[in-house]
Subunit: 104 residues, 2 copies
DNA sequence: TTGTTAATTAACGTAAGTGATAATTAAGTA
DNA sequence: TACTTAATTATCACTTACGTTAATTAACAA
């Protein structure tokens, strides 16, 4: 069974999407560096857990710090889902198919 | 403000993702044709509402029937979100950028 | 050892999501 | 006018999601 619904659900929260976008833009960051002003650390911690369990991020331990980064496969899976329906885009996206394969 | 979290949240449910996938693969379908065995019609109806309010599908009325179809922009927005981080894919997806623009 | 920093887990309250059955609306059809 | 079909809205029950404060774990520093 596909875990795409789980992936989408995890990204279906503004705080978590912002976390993922920062990690994609800036690379590996600690929980503290990702801390949002609008939410408390415990709440952030549970958002990280949701992202981990959805297979979107991985955690690396460095002393007291927890360093997070995005798993490329997760974002790639979304890209491929969009591509599966490329006929919908007037068949103009076939080039992406090869591009995604190259990235593997 | 972006409505991407709303889009992802709407697709973060297996029943709704299945609805969207059928509409993408088969085109416009009625609520009845989309009816899943595992859920009751009222539940399906509310799933349609979530998808409508997220801007993912549009409803067209034909007598007693409600015909649904996917809004291309919604899927396109997801594709563009993935592309925004194409550096993450080793910069190999630049061709998709043009492809998505062509589809507009 | 004691204190500080970083992050998580525990416990709790409240809001939102999801499902069911029953009732309602609206449009055909006999 | 009934009757049937298609779908939605109303109501209710239950679960999950999300946020808070307090407590705990783990690692480093004085």
């Amino acid at each position: 069974m596909s875990q795409l619904p789980t992936t989408f659900a995890a990204l279906g929260n503004a705080t978590r999407l912002a976390i993922v976008e920062r990690l994609l833009a800036e690379g590996e960051l600690s929980a503290g560096a990702l801390q949002a002003d609008s939410v408390t650390p415990p709440a952030m911690s549970r958002h990280f857990k949701v992202l981990r369990e959805a297979g979107i991020v991985v955690q690396r331990v460095d002393a007291q710090r927890r360093l997070y980064s995005v798993k490329p496969e997760a974002v790639q899976a979304i890209g491929e889902w969009v591509l599966n329906f490329r006929e919908f885009w007037a068949g103009s996206l076939d080039r992406l198919d090869a591009a995604l394969k190259d990235a593997k």
